[in-house]
Symmetry: D3
Subunit: 289 residues, 6 copies
């Protein structure tokens, strides 16, 4: 029996296909076709919106899928959370659903929203947020364009954001965070008990994680004289033992390691100063610890 | 006080802007801005999804707007239906919400759907359709991709279609029509009692109708000798009295009229045979009867 | 029985669809589908390359089609030439197949091509051209890129051109014209004897000709005082009797006529000088004499 | 001798080519070629930047050209201003060069700019503006990006604008207008004395003006009963005598006129109310009074 | 003397240029120019259609070129087959020319095609296929659009396909394979005897093969403790000896190897289970054994 | 205090952003925003034209920036030249400003330009070039389109070129080189004395150079038997000591080195002949010696 895998249609679609490619699976999506081809005979893929993915995983229409933690919560779905895959449309960071009001609004805190109108696509999560805070607000469903609505009589909105930049650009002020969300790989509870399907899911997740990690890492190689070896090794982050090999030229070593791309620009000048020579940085496809 | 006018974001957006342009109003939509500029100082425009337009008109957030009859029904909104504007994304015809099943399904009639799963974006209208028919079906909300769902365990879908072509291309068979829908210009009930705003709305609607009609009509002019005049006039549809002027050349007349573009290709050969000469067809911007 | 109509795939495709639209027939071509939809229930359309259209019309696979005179000659097809439709990819003029050599070649006249290599896609027409001239040249089939071949050892090429500009830009010199070609509407000989199909073909051709003519004409209207009437009328080309109507203001007339777009820019200054006032030019969809 | 005509490269380029097309001249610009083809054997066209057009017209390198009044002033060129052609990149209105400062600047009036830094592309005009006002400011040349410079230590900028919108969007406040500018057709002084070239220039200008006017006008036709004739005629603007013809149906008239597109949406409802029937609006290519 | 090299214009063009780039040669193709630039002074490149490449290689117009085995057969060209380069437009697999009929056809086997019409671009190969099978079919040349022809009276077609998907999508059933074809590097027979040119060709082919291989391989590196070394090495495919280096940390080794990209997703989970740590996968430009 | 860094707007913009990315800095430019975001909290970036960059660095409006040597000379700016970054729009080579005349011009040498008109955007550098040569030419500012001007009465032009190809394509002959120019990283003189800012600048430059070098290099790895080691090592360029490690298989070594991409295609065949096996080439992100 093939594994029925849900791919999120919409904002996560492109980046998800790219990650599967790096992980070793070629997914091809044709316009107006909801069944992408995938070059693994044990998998059948289907496109669903992130918003409803967890409902279909829960009811067993599909075995597993990729969606956001936000929509699992919204649908209150009983599913197995197999793994967090920290990636979003624009960056490798979690997204936030935030409560925002116009810059010019007199609303400063959550309690100012008592009896006020709040528009959002994430109605259930927002309602329970206000319930927990003990504030009675009028939360209603809104199909996007929420910013616009604050100028038309809606008091506050709850919107998803990666950096907050587009909210600020729309003249909105964030007053609280409703929930954080990362991308998740979820599975149906029964399917997870099926050893063969579970093993297949674990393989896919292992490779996806390897591909995500490789987006954030680079390889770094350099030549170091014996006398500088300790100094240089101290600068390298301790994440993974670097490979140190003796060069044919006596007293010299080759160091080969993997580091976070983010720190490279800080570390290279320091490595050079510490005596590293012929430093090269090279790209990676997968990193699996 | 300016008239607050809702423009439907999404599939009707482009064609709506084009019609307003023909009607004499330039609307400019910037990406990521929900307040299009419009070159009429008495109007402020805002973009809302067709799905929620009637809710905002009903609650008075906006004074009037353009949406589909389907969504007015779905939201069960109490609004004034000012005019039917028969246009859709691809054509100048109404759209239909149809009940469809896979070609290979054993379901043939509505009653076969008893206790079956039906996925649709138009949940309320679909539910009351089944209620009226006395059939108990399990109707659930679905974010698009409905065709795909029929291959994943959903028994039937209710989808919108202009020609049925894309449903057929997806291997689906239509078994009934849930509702027909045209584009409507709707207004808030209180606003409709405001004479100034009502007058403004009526002006806009008059011009929009003129622009829609002009899409379907062309001007036709020809020279006819006196002896052929009756024969030629009999061929011309009776929609509007043609303008007949005597030419300076004695015994000749010029006929100038407006006819449906659809019939031109049938009529021109007949006019020619009946003695019309120098037939020309010219385009129109507006037609107002 | 529907009329089977061949639409030329390739360079004439876009302009042909546009002309049918102006003529009143909407043809919609989907990528990778050779059967365009057409909004006339009496016609079924199919896409064939211009090169083979006449073969399929001759053998009766289709009833009629649009192609170039060049390919009818090349295939030596026995078909009915219903009408010349003077349009090409870039302009409303005939195209020419010309014999060309590199600028630097010593070949000046046709007879210099004795025993030389000539590459062309129009092999048969070229061969009979040389035969008529009594010159023995080695004519071989070439799949495009003919210009390139003159730099690789081919002595001359026979290529199609609208203006000669791209040949010149490729450093080639035209030494003779092999044949002129216009677009033609051709029909199968038997089908042409079928009164109903013939009538349908004649209708289509009448409307296509009306659309082509309208591309080259504009409407011109102006007010003229009685004393200037003769002067003004003398300037207007005699193609069609202008419509002259008396204005309500005594002594003034309105002239309404159709003229070639090409001459408008010469005529308007002269009309103005001759006393015409309020001259307006308007666009046309069809012109049928 | 051909007329050497300068076409403005850059922001006016597209709209200029479009106007010439409407005027009856087909100009084809190839990428990286400064000599556009034009289908008039008496003209040779060349592309120059608007900024330097008047210098080349003055020195006789070209006979005439199209540029902005602003650059004629900046270059202080001695040329003949043949005609104002009121069109710009986005609209049919003049543009303004305005003096602007950041919203947050303490500068309120021109005199606050004493000894301050002003960046602009229009250096000479700006300098003489300050001179006339008796204020000593430090005006320096800037290659665009002027808004950015106000955030980097430049006190004020002088920039061109059609509506002021992009300045406002960049957080700038307009404090004065340096000069207004429209598009102009200019000619070399000697060439203007040459009767043949002058006549050619006048012809071109007549047709360009006809095309510009047609952008702003539409044709309007309607049927009116005798008793309503006066009422209807009073509503129509007096720009041009409407053509009134008696219809074959007794007591009815056809009115055909030209009016500003801008007023159509106001006038049509009034015409209808006054008894006009079968009102149609049609597009125009040229309008020449 | 420069090496004259034919690059296939059309479906193989883009992928060929990309492979040469990976192989170390930058080819730049300008639109409408048949002589691409190449950054190797010993080569001159020319674009020919794959269909006629072998004819020009055979006659010596070019020294060598890239084309499909299919067209070498069709032209029956006497050329040297230097190397198979297994790549096609969409994949790194051979293509097939297949005999296909409509799903609804009564034709099931080749012998059912006796006296039937078969349309194809590969006329000669198809004719000899039928000859070998002892079946007399009427094979005629067709310019593409072959699928369409089966609906217009042609009984079968012979078309090229990579996966068969587009034939199935067009409602066709494959009944046999006429020939398989891979991309080939071919050379002129005389040129192949010229030691200098042959050496140059062999260099190019060596690098192209290195680039093709690199498309299918990736580098894989990992750390392994001594006790797991054998287990891990057994999992790695035996294609090439992995590089094993002792790490500075005693008892640990670094393994660096090259494996097929296709098997990575199967092998990584097994390597991890066998004790490999810090597994990284990196991309390759060339692989030469 | 943040480092104010000027990014060159225009032809160098795209390639500069790409290099910063490879160097480890993500710069995001929004349309119509002159302040790109950069993911380094110690830097604020601003877009200026290369033409005026050095003026703003000199006056201290920004601390440092990237521009061409040509514009530093033209503006005669007193700035610190921190580093040469040899990259241009199309290639990794310097550009040249050349003096060119039409092919058909009688001007052959610089001295023929006495009293002639020379148009250029690089007025000051050109003037001092002629001064040094002792030739009096009339040098005037020109806004691009210089080639066109040579056909309108300008005798010569001074234009920038990477390969000379576009000048030749425009029918121009190069008669001398005015100056060579490479991209430079320049800094304000005072800022350069500030130790913290200088250190920051040096870090950025180190990484940029690493990224530029990596564009021109690739990694090369191979297995070599002991007996072939010397032969193979002699073939490898001496730029950097290769890393040689003993393989676990006795008598075999792994060589890992960095070489110029340009020489790879020459070296690989020689390495193979010399006994290297399993040669792989891999891409690099940064190379820092």
């Amino acid at each position: 029996m093939k594994l029925k895998l849900g791919i999120p249609k919409g904002s996560l679609e492109g980046i998800t296909v790219k990650l599967f490619k790096k992980a070793g699976f070629n997914i091809a999506i044709s316009p107006r076709n909801y069944f992408p081809s995938i070059d693994d005979r044990e998998i059948v893929a289907v496109l669903f919106r992130a918003q409803e993915m967890s409902r279909y995983v829960e009811s067993g229409i599909i075995d597993c899928g990729i969606t956001g933690r936000d929509w699992v919560l919204e649908n209150n779905s009983k599913v197995v959370k197999v793994a967090e895959l920290v990636y979003a449309k624009q960056s490798m960071r979690p997204v936030r659903w935030v409560l925002a009001v116009p810059n010019t609004s007199s609303i400063k805190k959550i309690k100012d929203l008592k009896n006020k109108k709040v528009a959002t696509e994430l109605v259930n999560v927002t309602k329970s947020f206000f319930k927990k805070k003990g504030i009675k607000a009028d939360v209603e469903f809104s199909w996007g364009a929420t910013e616009a609505k604050t100028r038309m009589g809606i008091d506050a909105i709850v919107e998803v954001t990666e950096t907050g930049a587009s909210l600020r650009a729309n003249g909105l002020r964030i007053i609280d965070t409703i929930c954080e969300s990362t991308t998740q790989f979820i599975a149906n509870k029964k399917i997870w008990q099926n050893p063969q399907k579970r093993k297949k899911i674990e393989k896919i997740v292992l490779l996806l994680k390897g591909a995500i990690l490789a987006e954030q890492k680079v390889g770094l190689k350099m030549n170091v004289a014996k006398k500088n070896l300790d100094k240089v090794l101290k600068i390298l982050p301790a994440m993974k033992k670097p490979t140190i090999s003796a060069l044919s030229e006596k007293g010299w070593f080759d160091i080969d390691t993997i580091i976070d791309e983010e720190v490279v620009r800080e570390i290279i000048p320091r490595l050079k100063k510490a005596g590293a020579q012929g430093i090269i940085e090279y790209p990676l496809n997968k990193v699996i610890y």
